[in-house]
């Protein structure tokens, strides 16, 4: 059992929900990313989604896209990201899932990429542009390495297909709450709760976490009522951007304050 599976087993036994913040590796720089990762468990995060910057992300909105562009403009390399995680891993126990484009994985070679993830202490891979039909070259590699291969489900995914994706997914199933790209939304779709409930019926007992569009503590709490975990990304990246010129400490404090508020809201769920 890897860290992700152990986490959901433990949370499940206590009826608790996972809070999963997202940060972009190397934004604004790798030292700050490392500091953020060390702070996040203290702020109440149970797991981390780490975005690997890519030159042409299709599923991301402007906030995350800008963080990628900025990180890459400084010449960020995959090797440096793995080294940073390897270093942080010595002090941080929460599961880390890397969110990475298949363009990057394919270029470095799926076997090589998976090996680097394992060596750095990454626990799972989310490859948003690799739908079920294209997973063949990497699925066995992920499984053999003991990583979680986290697959995504969209509101438009037909139920039969949800079932197939759930079977193929490991660690958890990532449900995208909205059609479209990452980014904060004032309102989440009215049918979100129903969709998550339906997905859980076909998930074969695998945890379902919800991301895309969630930013406010009350939204996190609402999603937490039905899902096993809540993923928050753009709202964090926006706060990092806003505090960027005030330096690392200010960024970490800003994110700490925000993630703590999400954690608090989520801790009320089910009580």
């Amino acid at each position: 059992m890897n860290r992700i599976e152990a986490l959901f087993k433990e949370l499940g036994s206590r009826g608790r929900k996972a809070l999963m913040p997202y940060v972009t590796a190397g934004f604004p720089d790798l030292a700050t990313t490392a500091a953020l990762i060390e702070q996040l468990p203290e702020s109440g995060a149970n797991m981390l989604e780490l975005g690997i910057p890519f030159s042409d992300p299709i599923a991301d909105g402007p906030v995350i896209q800008n963080s990628y562009t900025q990180a890459l403009s400084k010449g960020l390399k995959s090797k440096q990201i793995f080294e940073m995680i390897g270093e942080v891993r010595k002090r941080v126990e929460i599961p880390i899932a890397a969110m990475v484009s298949y363009s990057i994985v394919n270029k470095l070679g799926p076997a090589e990429y998976v090996k680097s993830c394992v060596e750095a202490g990454i626990d799972g891979l989310i490859i948003p542009d690799l739908p079920l039909e294209e997973t063949e070259p990497i699925r066995a590699l992920i499984t053999e390495a003991g990583l979680s291969g986290i697959m995504l489900v969209a509101p438009s995914t037909p139920v039969e297909r949800q079932n197939k994706i759930a079977k193929s997914s490991s660690g958890f199933i990532y449900y995208m709450s909205v059609m479209g790209i990452t980014g904060e939304r004032d309102k989440l779709p009215a049918e979100l709760v129903d969709h998550v409930v339906r997905l859980k019926e076909v998930s074969g007992g695998k945890p379902v976490c919800v991301g895309f569009g969630i930013s406010r503590p009350e939204q996190a709490a609402m999603v937490g009522e039905v899902a096993d975990g809540v993923i928050v990304g753009s709202a964090i990246i926006r706060r990092i951007s806003e505090a960027e010129d005030k330096g690392m400490e200010a960024i970490v404090a800003r994110v700490d304050e925000y993630v703590s508020s999400l954690a608090e809201a989520l801790s009320e769920v089910g009580r």
Binding site: I58, A59, Q65, S78, S103, E134, V153, A154, R161
Partner: protein, 414 residues
């Protein structure tokens, strides 16, 4: 010794396979959000393709609206320069001035058939944007076109044409602010609007079924060429030449004759400042297989998998990837791929204008430039067809600016 024999190239009736693969290339590397839409599009396109009513409707628009068939013009004076019989397939005479309209009318009619009210597109030079805006106006569809701010600056006239046609031009200010970023942005839009919007991709690229569908809408070029050459010469052509950016005009020209192994085919990529510089857009000659914009194909990427900056004087060739079927033809060796530089393309641009009174699009000028390099090397009775995929009016200002600045620079150096 292991045999190095390459597999036989499968023709357009046999590729792509059910997974959208041309050999190893193609596929669907897109977010799950788009998978249902691609499945719907694939199913609807399959039905439309086999529906005589749809084909009749498309043929009607191609004839009475776009002005097809486009003529096959025997270029006597140009032929004398080359030392072979050279014909031009006059796609520049289509409505909107390029081959792009063949595809946008097809996808426009498909949009209507699917009951969607809105069409979105990406554009680089603005030719596909204008062709989409035109089809949308003719078919009563709402239309939004994404265009990089750098391209908006370079292509003022086409921006105005699109607006005049009732289309919204949405500026894209991310990344390199050119075609690839416009594709990203159009895909993002589509992910959120797929219920009521169709994404009209402009070339034989992207996730399945686009490479196949766009090819099918463009094969009218090659089918007509085949008949017209047979009528004029009583036999098939010896050589076909077309420029390759994403590769839709070349795919349309080549695909119908791919099975005729004696027909030599040459695709001309954008060599920019030269293949030994980093300022070119020759994805096949200088790229490697990779993933971009939903497809596996030859791509210009750095060693980390990020898309490289590319350059061509022809905005329509200024793209870091190429359609998967071209990657397939490249690997099987069925089609020869070569490149010419910006400079050579601009020389061909002027040369053709002065020799034949034809001002080619800078994209098409790449094909012309390569044929100029072949002058004197071919047997005299060689029958060659160059796809004149678009007219060059749109490029006159840019060429004047570039040649003007070169001249003044040369003066200053003296």
């Amino acid at each position: 010794m292991k045999s190095e024999e390459k597999p036989k190239t499968l023709g357009p009736n046999k590729v792509p396979d059910e997974h959208g693969r041309f050999g190893r290339f193609g596929g669907q590397y897109v977010p799950e959000t788009l998978m249902a839409a691609l499945a719907e599009l694939k199913a609807e396109y399959e039905k439309a393709r086999k529906d005589p009513e749809f084909q009749k409707q498309l043929a009607w628009y191609l004839r009475y609206y776009a002005g097809r068939p486009s003529p096959l013009y025997y270029a006597k004076r140009f032929s004398e320069r080359i030392g072979a019989k050279v014909y031009f397939k006059r796609e520049d005479l289509n409505h909107t001035g390029a081959h792009k309209i063949n595809n946008t009318l097809g996808q426009g009619l498909l949009t209507v058939r699917m009951g969607k009210k809105r069409i979105i597109a990406e554009t680089g030079a603005g030719q596909h944007g204008v062709a989409t805006a035109t089809a949308a106006a003719a078919l009563g569809l709402e239309c939004d076109v994404y265009m990089g701010t750098e391209d908006i600056r370079r292509q003022e006239l086409n921006v105005y044409r699109m607006k005049l046609l009732g289309t919204r031009v949405l500026p894209v200010d991310s990344g390199s602010r050119t075609l690839k970023d416009a594709v990203n942005e159009a895909m993002r839009d589509w992910m959120g609007s797929v219920e009521y919007s169709h994404y009209c991709l402009g070339s034989v690229m992207g996730p399945d079924p686009f490479p196949r569908m766009v090819r099918d809408f463009q094969v009218v070029i090659g089918k007509e060429t085949r008949e017209q050459v047979l009528e004029a010469e009583g036999r098939l052509p010896d050589v076909l030449v077309a420029c390759v950016g994403g590769g839709s005009n070349a795919a349309g020209m080549f695909a119908p004759m791919i099975d005729n192994e004696k027909v030599r085919m040459i695709g001309v990529e954008a060599g920019g400042y030269g293949l030994d510089t980093f300022k070119h857009a020759a994805a096949l000659l200088k790229g490697k297989p990779g993933i971009l914009h939903g497809m596996e194909s030859y791509v210009l990427q750095d060693e980390e998998g990020h898309t490289q900056e590319v350059h061509s004087v022809a905005a329509g060739l200024d793209y870091p990837g190429v359609g998967p079927e071209h990657s397939y033809w490249y690997d099987t060796g069925r089609v020869e791929y070569v490149a010419v530089t910006d400079q050579e393309a601009m020389e061909a641009f002027s040369m053709l204008a002065q020799t034949e009174g034809l001002i080619p699009a800078l994209e098409s000028a790449h094909a012309v430039a390569y044929v100029l390099k072949m002058a004197g090397e071919l047997p005299k009775d060689t029958i060659m067809v160059i796809n004149l995929s678009g007219r060059g009016d749109k490029d006159c200002m840019e060429v004047a600016r570039l040649l003007g600045s070169q001249t003044s620079q040369a003066k200053e150096e003296k």
